[in-house]
Symmetry: C2
Subunit: 217 residues, 2 copies
């Protein structure tokens, strides 16, 4: 097991039983042992050879793309149970970093093997999620974007009343196409409206999920 320095787990590791297609994939692809990544560690970089997939045991991962002048767009956040690393070409067109500390299994494809249906399904789910995010970036207001993120995280974390924001404000902004100041302001607005409670900087109670859902329409 490879351990990176200054490892720190922000949240308690929450192992998660994988979905049907994920466990099918895990058995088909001979997963490696868990590699531990420190917070802010690079998992793969722009231009790295693609092919392997990554299964998250615990922690949070961000997938990023850059404009030529360095503006960053976070394409996706992945959490425990997710598989990421899909790439159409032979090189990664994005880079992946751990947000908090994370534990990840590398899945290496058996050479010359035809793809399984579970692999295709995972790729298509990724596509569906990404398409959905296009609506967020293209057609929702800043308020609606933040509300949709809170609800999305709540759903993925399996608790519809409490959300753990593993990522800093800046990451949220780069995911939602906003600035971190705007994210901060909108959280405050939601607080003032009694929609949320800021238990701590990274823990938020959703006091009125329905009103939030109403918002992101």
């Amino acid at each position: 097991m490879h351990i990176q320095p200054t490892f720190r787990v922000a949240a308690a590791p929450t192992p998660l039983q994988p979905h049907a297609e994920t466990s099918a994939l895990l058995s088909a692809m001979h997963p490696a042992a868990i590699t531990l990544y420190a917070a802010e560690a690079t998992i793969y970089n722009l231009g790295d050879a693609a092919g392997a997939l990554y299964f998250i045991e615990f922690g949070t991962v961000r997938i990023c793309r850059l404009t030529a002048d360095g503006r960053r767009q976070i394409v996706a956040f992945h959490v425990a149970g997710d598989v990421f690393g899909f790439e159409a070409g032979s090189e990664h067109e994005s880079y992946a970093e751990s947000v908090e500390g994370a534990g990840i299994r590398v899945l290496r494809p058996s050479l010359g093997q035809e793809p399984t249906s579970s692999l295709l399904l995972l790729a298509l789910k990724s596509l569906s999620r990404t398409q959905n995010h296009l609506i967020v970036l293209g057609r929702l207001t800043a308020n609606e974007r933040v509300a949709s993120l809170l609800l999305d995280l709540a759903e993925r974390q399996g608790d519809d009343r409490r959300v753990h924001l593993a990522m800093p404000r800046n990451d949220i902004a780069d995911y939602l196409g906003l600035t971190f100041e705007t994210v901060s302001r909108i959280l405050r607005i939601f607080k003032d409206q009694g929609l949320i409670r800021l238990r701590s900087i990274s823990h938020i109670d959703l006091l009125n999920p329905d009103a939030l859902a109403e918002l992101c329409q």
Copy 2:
């Protein structure tokens, strides 16, 4: 061959030799005969049963998603040679319409068949394209968005100096996360700057592709 009423082809049909993975897919999936669609015709709708894929012989297709209150986001434009219709679940989460008249072959999956690698590759290319569009919507200015569309269309149409805008301004706006007035204004700005020439409402000459490329960084 099924023919829809009031068929009209805006541009001359341009049959295109498919890429390697596409032709592999075509032979593997027993394509149906070409169906002709009139302009603005529905190819599949929200909630329709998914599973089939669609190969474009000629014409342009838009894939759309809606917010709950009816705002539209065009998730992708597809042109001759493209395959679309991928869906993770059993129902379509978006709808597809012809922009101009279009000729399309339906590809029906052989039941119980494992996916081919060419199918996965096409899905991953779709994912890559969609991720790239996230940058456009999340991090580019209005000028940069329009410039990136012009260059993208030029590249896909195989002529780096002339672009055919098959879709109305409103579609461009809903693809780029703008309003149609803004699209119109920016085209005028580009014209005034000598970057483009509006040969007609739907035909644009790129007088300075490099400057446009500079723009979208």
